[in-house]
């Protein structure tokens, strides 16, 4: 999948149906979706050329009452081109029975997923269970086709939607609006294949990089010049629990909130919320586990032996400029003579 590629001529002009089900969730994906800019949310819907069904805010009421629509979708009389599920689902009782139907939520999702052209898990809870499935998880909350890193989930290892694809996972807590809209847009045009998905069935276009990439603190990271408290400029990895080097996302390249920020730009650690083991795989969040000063969680994209060797060296080689700034909330400028001496 490439973002921005023009829609092929074969793109059906008939309006397709996007059925969006809010399952066991916090509404965070919806809130994030409304933050979409370029395209703004309404323009994005126009580009998708879909009727939105089922969603608490966005259901097109002209299409009928929600309970009737759900019934028609499950019966196959109303085609579901895109099924998007926000939130985890419960495998065990008690089941919430939404829409006054008396039918458990998980049964609705199973029935409609069988008939949908594409099924998309929106957010980490729908993808892997996420926060809703953490700790002792008394209700058996799980992701659509994964439980944590294990394949299975509500729909099972062998599930394929009618198009032949497994559930396409768009994790994130919340997911970035571009990830959601971009994935739906690619599926709407039949332009996403299994080769475009990674080992957790996430589109590589969005999850192929690390949150660490393009982090403005990267120079501090390279020289192991670390912040010791919040509001300082240094790297958040060594002392404050940042998981940016483990987190598969493009947050620091794509940026959030009208492209003004990200977690690390906001001064707090990345918690790797796109990972299947978020959150319990990363607690306690704000500490970095170490063995004799070396963090035990090493970056995903660097050979480990080299990393350990280079870290020690780069810490020794750290320029004074970075050493000072790492622990300062605002820039510490070199005086003019110092700058000349150091060859700037």
């Amino acid at each position: 999948m490439e973002e921005g590629r023009n829609a092929p001529a074969t793109w059906s002009r008939a309006v397709a149906n996007l059925l969006w089900i809010q399952a066991v969730c916090c509404g965070g994906e919806t809130a994030s979706l409304l933050n979409s800019d370029h395209p703004h949310f309404e323009a994005a819907l126009r580009a998708l050329d879909v009727a939105v069904l089922g969603h608490a805010y966005l259901h097109e009421q002209a299409k009928g009452k929600m309970a009737e629509v759900l019934d028609a979708c499950a019966a196959g009389t109303l085609p579901v081109n895109l099924l998007a599920v926000e939130g985890a689902t419960y495998r065990t009782a008690p089941q919430p029975a939404p829409w006054a139907t008396g039918k458990p939520l998980s049964d609705w999702v199973r029935a409609i997923a069988r008939l949908a052209d594409y099924t998309v898990a929106v957010g980490t809870c729908a993808s892997f269970g996420g926060v809703m499935a953490c700790a002792r998880n008394p209700m058996g909350a799980t992701g659509l086709q994964f439980h944590r890193s294990e394949k299975g989930g509500l729909l099972g290892v062998d599930y394929r939607s009618r198009s032949g694809l497994p559930v396409v996972n768009v994790p994130g807590c919340p997911a970035h609006p571009d990830w959601m809209i971009g994935t739906l847009w690619a599926l709407r045009g039949d332009r996403l294949t299994e080769a475009d998905l990674d080992r957790f069935n996430r589109p590589r276009a969005f999850y192929g990089k690390l949150a660490h990439h393009a982090c403005p603190r990267n120079e501090y990271y390279e020289f192991k010049a670390s912040a010791t408290a919040y509001s300082q400029q240094g790297c958040l990895f060594e002392n404050l629990g940042c998981k940016g080097t483990l987190c598969e996302s493009d947050c620091n390249e794509r940026l959030w909130l009208a492209r003004t920020g990200s977690c690390t730009r906001g001064g707090f650690p990345c918690l790797s919320c796109t990972s299947p083991v978020f959150p319990d795989g990363f607690v306690p969040f704000f500490q970095t586990a170490k063995i004799s000063d070396i963090p035990t969680s090493l970056p995903l994209d660097v050979p480990k032996a080299w990393y350990v060797g280079i870290s020690g060296l780069s810490k020794l080689a750290c320029p004074e400029r970075l050493r000072r700034n790492a622990v300062s909330p605002k820039p510490v400028w070199p005086d003019k003579e110092e700058r000349t001496r150091s060859g700037h």
Binding site: G27, E42, H59, Q61, M66, P96, G261, C263, P329
Partner: protein, 479 residues
């Protein structure tokens, strides 16, 4: 007399899963039950964890108001540690939280409340304006969000689920250049409010001090054609000033505390007259909730949240919080009444705690907060710190009481041996949409629905107006 029981579920355009059951007698609601139908178990989930990790989990209670949950959690830990934030951090937190409230209020109005005016049997004029996503006003709101999201991004980095507010302060210092950028973005967003919601300057609106002032404003210039003017005219024509009333008690913790601890609005309990707000008088009941039963009410420091879904005498996953044993309403109207806001106080005198006044208070607060964000931005001093180191504590308890978009939010934490022993949350919608308590007293919404006309059970738009005037967030409620 014919009694008919009707169950409304789902409510369209609402945060979370709400089921309303009403008894209709002679075309009016005689009794009602509000049920939160989803359980997620945040409170038990936190037991045994690092105290600071509570900030990460609790901001995920609600996608729309997670920042205020994180602020309540950070405040609870801050009181436990006996720590303080530097002045800049208080101001920066207020900027972020006020933006979250403005976004929440506008999302509510444009995507939840106002679209009901486009329902049959109403007319098409409202549809052209308010039917999402293509109605002119709501589509413009979705476009203009970008500017105020930009301001939020400069302080919070990411949202929903920012961790920028911590016990010691805020994690991102902003510099002078960023403050200037934030002021510019805020100005652009304010243009939208000016042009679309008000058709007048913010100051002209904020100068209105009585119901008579508002009548005059409505007759002047193009005000009646603004979204606000349309709302007022329509609400009064439909009799929304006579719907949704109950013998209201209003609670507010004030909200948006400044560096000296003084809140932006006066805290209080309004029960026909002013009174002090004392969180020690809060207790939660579970007689009608799917939790292991206990007698009477428990203060949240002693609170329990063991799920018991088999109970047949319960009907909601929400508990019933009570203030001095009485149900209480919270939210923008409660804040403004306790603050003695002249316009809202006068409107409450004329129209009572109705759908109309509740909704107007929410829009009025939006405008007050927008104006205040500009003032706060001017008070940030980029030369001063945003962070102060906090002491460590192995045990103790703390409470964080804040004003969320929808009303008073409390987090209560108890720590033993460095780990969370108990964590309790009472949300604004927990107050407003509470089920019956140990004395079988209905919650505020349950009481406010009584008397509502239901001319057509297939199109329960009147019920929807009353429910939505409380801006319920069921995600928060059934944490």
């Amino acid at each position: 007399m014919v009694t008919k029981t009707i169950v409304f579920s789902p409510f369209s355009r609402l945060e979370g899963d709400l089921q309303i059951q009403v008894e209709v007698e002679d075309g009016r609601i005689a009794a009602s039950r509000a049920s939160g139908t989803l359980y997620r178990g945040f409170e038990p989930m936190l037991r045994g964890r690092e105290p600071l990790d509570a900030i990460v989990f609790t901001c995920r209670v609600c996608g729309q108001c997670g920042l205020i949950h994180s602020a309540a959690s950070a405040a609870a830990i801050r009181t436990l540690l006996g720590a303080e934030m530097p002045p800049n951090a208080c101001i920066a937190s207020n900027v972020m939280l006020a933006i979250e409230a403005v976004l929440s209020h506008l999302t509510h109005f444009y995507l939840s409340f106002a679209p009901d005016f486009a329902e049959p049997p109403y007319d098409d004029e409202a549809a052209a304006r308010f039917l999402p996503p293509t109605g002119a006003s709501c589509s413009r709101m979705l476009r203009e969000r970008e500017e105020i999201l930009g301001v939020l991004g400069l302080f919070a980095g990411k949202w929903p689920n920012s961790l920028a507010i911590q016990p010691g302060g805020t994690t991102r210092p902003v510099n002078a250049c960023e403050i200037r950028r934030a002021q510019g973005l805020l100005g652009e967003f304010t243009d939208f409010i000016r042009q679309q919601l008000l058709r007048c300057e913010l100051d002209a609106w904020l100068a209105l001090r009585s119901a008579a002032d508002l009548d005059r404003w409505l007759g002047e210039g193009a005000h009646a054609a603004s979204d606000m003017g349309f709302f007022i005219t329509r609400a009064l024509r439909l009799g929304l000033d006579g719907m949704g009333r109950w013998p209201a008690r209003f609670i507010s913790s004030g909200g948006w505390p400044g560096p000296t601890g003084q809140t932006l609005m006066k805290p209080g309990v309004w029960n026909g007259g002013p009174g002090d707000f004392d969180p020690a008088r809060i207790a939660e009941h579970v007689k009608h909730s799917w939790f292991e039963p206990y007698d009477g009410g428990l203060h949240p420091h002693e609170g329990e949240s063991e799920a018991d879904p088999e109970r047949t005498d319960a009907y909601s996953w929400a508990k019933a919080p009570r203030y001095e044993g009485q149900p209480a309403e919270t939210g923008p109207l409660a804040r403004l009444v306790n603050d003695r806001d002249p316009l809202i106080a006068d409107l409450l005198g004329r129209h009572g705690p109705s759908v109309y006044v509740r909704e107007l208070a929410r829009l009025h607060e939006t405008i007050r907060l927008l104006s205040q964000i500009g003032i706060w931005l001017g008070q940030v001093d980029p030369e001063e710190p945003f962070w102060r180191d906090t002491p460590h504590a192995e045990s103790g308890s703390g409470v964080g009481l804040v004003e969320a978009p929808r009303g008073t939010l409390g987090h209560w934490i108890r720590v033993e041996g460095g780990k969370i022993r108990n964590y309790q949350i009472i949300t604004p919608t927990g107050w407003n949409l509470s089920p019956r308590d140990s004395e079988d007293q209905p919650g505020p919404l349950e009481a406010a629905l009584v008397g509502t006309p239901v001319p057509d059970p297939d199109r329960p738009v009147t019920v929807s107006h009353v429910v939505k005037s409380f801006d319920p967030c069921l995600f928060c409620t059934v944490h």
